[in-house]
Subunit: 136 residues, 2 copies
């Protein structure tokens, strides 16, 4: 059996300092065991790591070239507690330097969300999903 | 401020049924609000979603082509409680159909981990990291 668990998401960074500054610009506090080479954030139990993409490639895809710079096929989400909070958090993310991808809207599945990108294209969905309630 | 929080990771699936069967083959139980179009797993607070990659692209990267099939620049991790558990979980993941990428080894950073891939290339690290203890 494989534990049904996700403890870490690591993003391979082309410019680690740029991504570090971007996420701290969102108000996020790195964990104290971060270093110049790797940044860790606690995102509510699951951790986010930012690490040099060539180093990560050498571990996770040792025979492959670096990925292209387009969308990578994955989205990360920050669910919020109310429909209105989608828009306020979305605006805050943009004000703090995120790239606008898709403005908040109501979707067929019953929730509301919008998408932004970090400076290297990783997608973040700011979402309210009534079937997945969140306590702030 | 942007909440320091990760609530969802969604993987864009080329063949949703294949990925669904792969992860349930790991012993993972879908959430009851899953459907034929989307599969949700609770991974210890953070959720994993599997959704058709073209639908996800239309929301998250509306002007972009689908990504290539190589490594996507991100890794997901399952941290375990002991060094030995890395190897047993790694073997279980392979027996249940994962692709071997990098056998478990001790790394310079003081932990032990190995990497596998799901049928569409998403990387999972099975890791023991003494600085990030896990209770099973």
């Amino acid at each position: 059996m494989v534990p049904q668990r996700l403890t870490f998401v690591t993003i391979g960074a082309r410019h680690l300092r740029t991504l570090h500054d971007f996420y701290t610009g969102w108000g996020w506090k790195p964990l104290p065991n971060s270093s110049d080479e790797i940044t860790f954030f606690d995102l509510g139990g699951v951790r986010l790591g930012l690490w040099d993409i060539e180093s990560l490639r050498d571990e996770a895809a040792p025979s492959e070239p670096l990925p292209g710079r387009g969308w990578n096929g994955i989205t990360l989400a920050i669910n919020v507690a109310t429909r209105d909070e989608v828009d306020t958090v979305f605006d805050s993310a943009l004000e703090a330097g995120a790239t606008m991808i898709n403005r908040p809207r109501d979707w067929d599945w019953g929730g509301r969300s919008g998408y932004v990108a970090d400076p290297e294209g990783t997608r973040w969905e700011i979402a309210w999903a009534p079937m997945f309630p969140v306590d702030d």
